[in-house]
Amino acid sequence: MSAATLTAPATKPGADEGRIGLRANLRHIGALARRNALQIKQDPESMFDALLMPIIFILLFVYVFGGAIAGKGHQQEYVQHLVPGMMAMMGMNIAMAVGSGVNEDFRKGVMDRFRTMPIARSSVLIAKIVVEIGRMLIATTILLAMGFLLGLEIRGSALEFVAAILLSTAFGAALMWIFILLGLSLRTPQAVQGMAMLVLMPLQFGSSIFTPTDNMPGWLQGFTDINPLSQLADAARALINGHGAVAHPTLITLGWAVAITAVTMPLAVRKFRSKT
């Protein structure tokens, strides 16, 4: 290679100038989030999951399983149990869609354009998450509206109610990084979808979202106790119902959120960078 250094063309001196500042980075995220939002506007069907899923699921569970789980006539109490749990579930369902969305996006030439532009590569992913958090909040609003129609009562303080929403949103946002990583790693949106279902089902049903875990076998209780969705559901439930331990499940949920983000976000960004 000594000969090659002789022939190597002269480059401009200095390191790689053009590091992206915070303000520019936020502007880029804004422009890309606008893109994701416009995509939804162009393709309104993509909002169906956020709009309809909460309605269908709450009706299904309250009227089909509610009686059996809580006993006839105790549906009101079941709503109090179910709605906070479903807030946890919404986050997971929306997060799941992010994976196939990212995968789909990557099959398009526009990603090449973004990756040849002077922007931080993470901004493309962060913009996606910003918009998906918006979708998640819409889904949560609809879920709560349905809950109120079915008699949900806010028994804690207003502050605790807001805290429940923020906690489930934060956890959902953390989950998105897992699904983004999946979306970048697997080849087709179908594979991402299938894989996501495999992760989703046991986590959702093996949790305290739909039923109290007391009647589950011991080994399963072991799983539901460490299942972050249970912890999130318990925390949201305690915050909305105004009784039960709050600090413990909240801390565990936040711990999970931080741990998931810390591990999967750098992996996802690295995967995004090296993707060819």
Binding site: T7, G30, V110, R113, T116
Partner: protein, 353 residues
């Protein structure tokens, strides 16, 4: 990967000022994917303000080369400097000066033409006002103003490619990569794209253009690098290479099919300088004459007119990629598209389906 001949010349180039120098300098570039040597030691230069055509069949390594030069891939070995920036060590700075239009439209199909361009303006740190103004300017320039509000998915192939070029031009890049910019386009839209590329070059852009079509290279490029299996097999001025491969073939169809020999004899006796032999082809009722300049074309027609030979038809054909390879290397290209290079349209359609 040796320095090859011309080490001294390369050293003098280093001392040249950027103006009039090379906007792109590639030395011994290598990119392998497992056992596939996609780019296997490529050297090339693109002089500032000119178009270099990179001609090669499918799978020759053209796209891999462009992806290395646009920071999408990290080369395994060798070096490449674009607009004074090293592609490996200074990718961020480099991205401010390049534009890329790929084989597949790199715009967001769900967004309108305007929104695509506005977004790119914002990503290039234009103010909202400037981004709006620049998007409108570009739409106007690329005749997309009427379609500005429609989603790009509803655009025709040509419109999409124009939008793609517009997107690449928003940041006024000094070096533009066009990776098979007309693959899959019909002749009319292809001409529109060519016009735009020529205009960009007039305005000072340096262009590295990959193509499978000799015709396209001839239209747009001043210099040509022919690659096959990741290696450069020929390079030089387009005219030099054209002379090597024999330029165009003129096909003359006399009104009287029995006059083929008379035509051939007339041309042979005319002693036109550098004109190859005229070959009658009775099966098609034509006479084929290789020509290398437009003047020769005029001379042939004038000569036949002077002899009073009536013509039913006359056409010129550029050598196909196959013929170019045959002439340059004495062998067929590794994966030349069948009879007609335009057959790759088929492949484009399959990939995008």
């Amino acid at each position: 990967m040796s320095a090859g001949p011309g080490t001294v010349g390369d050293m003098t180039r280093q001392t040249k000022t950027p103006r009039g120098g090379n906007a792109v300098e590639v030395r011994g570039l290598v990119k392998h994917f497992g056992d596939v040597k996609a780019v296997d030691g490529v050297d090339l230069d693109v002089r500032e303000g000119t178009v270099l055509g990179v001609l090669g069949p499918n799978g020759a390594g053209k796209t891999t080369l462009v992806r290395c030069l646009s920071t999408l891939l990290v080369p395994d070995a060798g070096s490449a400097v674009v607009a004074g920036y090293d592609v490996v060590r200074q990718p961020r700075a480099l991205r401010r000066t390049i534009g890329l239009t790929g084989q597949y439209a790199s715009v967001d199909e769900k967004l309108s033409g305007y929104e695509n361009l506005y977004m790119i303006g914002r990503l290039l740190d234009l103010s909202r006002k400037d981004a709006r103004r620049r998007a409108d300017e570009m739409l106007e320039r690329f005749s997309l103003t009427e379609a500005a509000k429609r989603p790009a998915a509803k655009y025709s192939g040509g419109m999409r490619r124009r939008l793609d070029l517009a997107a690449s031009m928003i940041g006024q890049p000094s070096v533009l990569y066009l990776d098979e910019p007309t693959t899959g386009l019909d002749p009319r839209t292809r001409n529109e794209v060519w016009d735009e590329v020529q205009r960009m070059v007039r305005e000072g852009a340096t262009v590295l253009l990959t193509t499978q079509y000799m015709e396209e290279a001839e239209q747009l490029a001043s210099e040509l690098t022919v690659i096959d299996r990741g290696r450069v097999i020929a390079e030089g001025l387009v005219d030099e290479l054209k002379a090597k491969v024999g330029g165009r073939t003129l096909q003359i169809r006399p009104a009287d099919p029995t006059a083929l020999d008379a035509v051939a004899a007339a041309l042979a006796g005319a002693g036109l300088d550098g004109l190859g032999g005229a070959t009658p082809d009775p099966a098609d009722g034509v006479v084929n004459v290789p020509i290398i300049s437009d003047e020769q074309l005029t001379a042939v027609i004038g000569l036949l007119g002077a002899r009073g030979i009536a013509l039913a038809g006359i056409s010129t054909h550029l050598p196909s990629l196959d013929e170019v390879f045959l002439a340059l290397t004495g062998q067929k290209s590794s994966e030349a598209p069948a009879d007609d290079a335009r057959e790759s349209d088929q492949q484009y359609a399959e990939v995008s389906a």
